[in-house]
Amino acid sequence: MARIVLNNIAHRYASSATAAGAADSYALKPLSHVWEDGGAYALLGPSGCGKTTLLNIISGLITPSQGQLLFDDTDVSHLPTEQRNIAQVFQFPVLYDTMTVAENLAFPLRNRRGSNKLGNADIKKRVDDALVMLGLEHLAHKKARSLTADDKQKISLGRGLVRTDVNAILFDEPLTVIDPHLKWQLRTRLKQIHREFGHTMIYVTHDQTEALTFADKVVVMLAGEVIQTGTPEELFRHPQHTFVGKFIGSPGMNILSCELAGDEAIVEGCRFALPTRYPALSGNIELGIRPEFIRLVDTGKGAPVIVTAIDDVGHHRIVRALLGRQLLDIVVAEGVAIPANPGVVFETGSIGIYQNARLVSASFAEKTT
């Protein structure tokens, strides 16, 4: 296990090299980041944001066009994949079809040569341990390809777990082909294994639920750039960018264009109290409020809205409403009545003000007024 350091890493694909120098030709823009030893990280972003490129740079499947990669204090930038001692689970299960489950797990150990070579007894012990860890003891002697998708993914993971000295386990959207209720099982199993053995884990996904539930720290990426890193709670409470606000949460944050007037924001002619005074700001000013922090109140109170749809998703309802010309999502808990012709009230402490998509920090706002 190791601490992984990215030192000004960037990557451009060969085909886009013609536009050399142009910042937008980067698949991954210059980036420095430290993955602490034993951390559970998620790399979250839409497809094409560079998250898989970053993952493959760490595992060595891609050589970055610039920058340095350290595992603890060793520079591994130019080491081939097999010498980096990394495990990786791919989107679709990768198995050696002709082998049994146990042989699949033993495979990375049997490939060792020289001083690292293990005896058969050692290999068997580690394979047995991994089988227990994954709850696959009963399948040990089955041919791998006769298994279900979720068991196959467990085996892909197991090939990393048998190597007790693995530096990090990387996941590239590993739950894509798994049914919803099995996703829960696999995810909690993963989390338990992380708790118990403390591997450094990096998990790439476009699914915010997976990212938030898996990781201690989530790295949100957009267009080859990291736009925010934080705990699930930080990303939920204080998105630094409107993209993070919208991308995280289901439904995502409401982003409303507004005007500022001291400690109030004016949206569609309605005034909403702000947690602090803001100076006059130029550019595109928006107000961000999560659907969870909007309350529906009786007619005549709050800002009037027109309800266009109500989606009941089981444990809560999502009310879609129009505030002037702008759409609002509002989460209403089970058992709470939805008034006819309601008004809305925003929870003051949960409002964020964004200037050109970036959060204007409250402390900055206070200082300048």
Binding site: N56, S59, G60, L61, P80, T81, E82, I86, A87, Q88, F90, Q91, F92, V94, Y96, D97, T98, M99, F107, P108, N111, R112, K142, K143, R145, S146, L147, S156, R159
Partner: protein, 294 residues
């Protein structure tokens, strides 16, 4: 399961008629000949399985059969590994792919008798580039007189002609392997051999079944090339079943034994192909029976 559609029958009818005229009716004629003897042109009488007994116990048949089996075995042992090796060495992307594919397809486009003629001339010791060069280099090479030379010439010719079929089939199997498999293997520290043994070979198995079947059947039925190049000689050294059969039927006009022999020939090919197919697809069936419908 397909739904039965009446119109579909009209569409397959021409093919059925064609098969009936081209295969079933001639085959029945052969069966008919094989159990009768003929005097002159149109007098036949029933002899039962006599011709079959005669053919099966004749040394001439045994020798030809052995030559066929040996030839097919050598062809498979050379062409399959060589084909896989060439396929592995071919580029997977870039302009090299189309160049290689065209080069590989070239020999397959040449008609059999032309291939025979090319090699017949190419290997001649007096005017052929190959034969003449070998002789000049001090090799005692002459495929018209030496049995071994004749065999080597035929084998080299067949390898030159048909290995590219195996290459193309193997290549199609190789390119269908998702890149994640290679990446996983690198992460697992697999050696080049392990990648071949546990990823490439299993993923190529289905196409290799086809390659082995095709190459076995073709090589076992080989006729045109040895007929053109060696004419079955020197002596009977390259007289394969097919050549023997033609000699018997057309040269000597022994229709009865020839018919019996061609049926036996046909059954051998069917049997061996079936054995190959069953053995090579057995593993598939084992694995599939363990899982539900998918």
């Amino acid at each position: 399961m397909k739904s039965w559609n009446n119109k579909a029958w009209f569409l397959v009818l021409p093919v059925l008629l064609l098969v009936a005229f081209s295969a079933i009716i001639p085959l029945m004629t052969v069966v008919n000949y094989s159990v009768q003897d003929s005097f002159g042109s149109n007098e036949f009488y029933w002899v039962g399985l006599e011709w079959f007994q005669e053919v099966l116990s004749s040394e001439r048949f045994h020798n030809a059969l052995m030559r066929n089996l040996l030839f097919s075995a050598i062809i498979l042992l050379i062409e399959i590994p060589l084909g896989i090796a060439v396929a592995l060495a071919m580029p997977r992307r870039g302009w090299g792919v189309s160049v290689c594919l065209v080069l590989m397809a070239l020999p397959l486009l040449i008609p059999w008798n032309v291939v025979g003629t090319i090699w017949q001339v190419f290997a001649r010791v007096d005017i052929g580039l190959l034969g003449y060069s070998l002789t000049q280099l001090g090799f005692d090479y002459n495929y018209t007189q030496d049995t071994l030379d004749a065999w080597i010439t035929l084998i080299v010719m067949d390898v030159w002609h048909w290995t590219s079929l195996v290459v193309l089939l193997s290549y199609s199997g190789l390119v269908s392997i998702p890149p994640a498999y290679y990446q996983a293997a690198r992460i697992d520290g697999a050696s080049r051999w392990a990648v071949f043994r546990y990823i490439q070979l299993p993923k190529m198995r289905r196409v290799l079944v086809i390659a082995v079947l095709l190459r076995f059947m073709d090589s076992f039925m080989i006729y045109t090339e040895p007929f053109v190049v060696t004419g079955g000689g020197p002596g009977n050294a390259t007289t394969f079943l097919s050549i023997d059969l033609v000699q018997m039927a057309i040269g000597q006009f022994d229709l009865g034994p020839a018919a019996a022999m061609s049926l036996i020939y046909f059954l051998i090919i069917l049997l061996v192909s079936w054995v190959f197919y069953t053995v090579m697809t057995q593993q598939d069936a084992d694995a599939e029976s363990g899982r539900g419908h998918s």
